[in-house]
């Protein structure tokens, strides 16, 4: 399908139970793609399992947070000149089978960035009420502010062209640390502001098989609306 260089980045923190399977499935489906696991200072055998499954591993020296792990993936894509970069989660919630759906608009429709949306697909996992409210709130805000229709602005399964990475990376490097909870919202906002063409693609999101999500907690959820509004105001100003 894609004859160009494709990087699949898998940021991972303490995901030894699932990362191996994700890497193996991805490599089995797309043998020509390079799979790089960004190990975000895991305390378990995540790096070892990923290596055994056939991935390259980039290890951050300590736990830096999801947004830094993702930016590390961008840096690798930029340095090594990948034509397309895809990001999937290491916890098994994203299906490697959906990678081709994400790449298709980049290769054939001239999109610069694609975002997986569980809400464009029927029978996908139903989120908790709190998560769902956060998703609706942030998607509506971004859609209104940027005058575009987005159903899942918080989606972490995304793909970028080289142009998109080259546009976004310098902005991240110049900015201060972006909190994990608002990273995808900031990115969508920045991409839209810089004229990158974005497209949503239906994906299936599976329930987490092991452990708890690291991105959501009650305290984070309570302060999320305020944090989101401030972040968006910051982006509008800048």
């Amino acid at each position: 399908m894609v004859s160009q260089k494709v990087l699949v980045m898998v940021p991972a923190y303490n995901e030894e139970k699932t990362v191996g399977e994700i890497v193996k499935t991805t490599l089995a489906l797309y043998p020509s793609f390079k799979v790089v696991v960004v190990d975000d200072g895991s305390e378990d055998a995540t790096a070892q399992k990923a290596r055994e499954a056939g991935a390259d591993v980039v290890s951050l020296p300590f736990h830096c947070g999801g947004s830094i792990a993702i930016q590390t993936g961008y840096l690798i894509a930029d340095r090594q000149g990948y034509d397309y970069t895809v990001k999937i989660d290491a916890d098994g919630q994203h299906r490697p089978e959906d990678i081709s759906n994400l790449l298709d608009p980049l290769v054939n429709d001239g999109a610069d960035m694609t975002m997986g949306s569980r809400y464009l697909k029927v029978n996908s996992e139903n989120c908790s009420l709190v998560k769902e409210s956060g998703r609706i709130f942030s998607s509506t805000l971004v859609s209104l502010l940027r005058r575009m229709e987005i159903t899942d602005v918080t989606s972490g399964m995304r793909a970028w062209t080289r142009k998109a990475i080259e546009t976004l990376l310098p902005m991240y490097m110049e900015r201060r640390y972006i909190e994990d909870s608002v990273f995808w919202v900031v990115e969508t906002f920045l991409a839209s502001k810089n004229g990158l063409r974005m497209q949503e693609v239906p994906i299936e999101v599976l329930p987490r098989r092991y452990g708890k999500s690291k991105s959501y907690s009650l305290s984070k959820m309570l302060i999320y609306p305020l944090r989101l509004i401030i972040t968006l105001l910051e982006q509008i100003k800048g």
Binding site: V58, S59, L60, I68, M173, Y177
Partner: protein, 130 residues
């Protein structure tokens, strides 16, 4: 009519809030820090502007004695120092995480190619793109 301490408290709260907004605008503080200091500034302003609230608290905690000027100035100094340290730590955190990112990518590049690891900085990137 506001007494001396209330006026100082109000001015100090205003200073904290203005500094907080200024740092956010200049992108020198992240959203979380802004929220924290906004709440601290607002509470301080509220207690200074409506001293009756403070009196309620002192009765509640059983500290009805008058707070001395030394204690009040110590409290303001502590708050200011806390603000400064918070800002510095958050700035250093940002720099350290970016350094960690550079380091891990450089190590990866070295392992792969055996060549000189490249470094990336915003300024270097600007030059490269020119």
């Amino acid at each position: 009519m506001l007494d001396r301490y209330s006026l100082i408290g109000l001015l100090f709260a205003l200073f904290i809030l203005l500094l907080d907004f200024y740092l956010l605008r200049k992108r020198k503080i992240e959203g979380r820090g802004f929220v924290l200091w906004f709440i601290i500034g607002a509470i301080l302003g509220l207690f200074s502007g409506v001293p009756a609230l403070f009196s309620l608290l002192t009765i509640l905690f059983g500290t009805e004695e008058l707070i001395s000027a030394v204690t009040v100035s110590g409290f303001f100094f502590f708050l200011l120092a806390f603000f400064y340290l918070y800002y510095r730590i958050s700035e250093l955190h940002s720099q350290v995480t970016k350094l960690a990112m550079e380091l891990s990518v450089a190590k990866y590049g070295q392992k792969q190619g055996g060549g000189n690891p490249q470094t990336f900085s915003a300024n270097e990137d600007k030059r490269r793109r020119k």
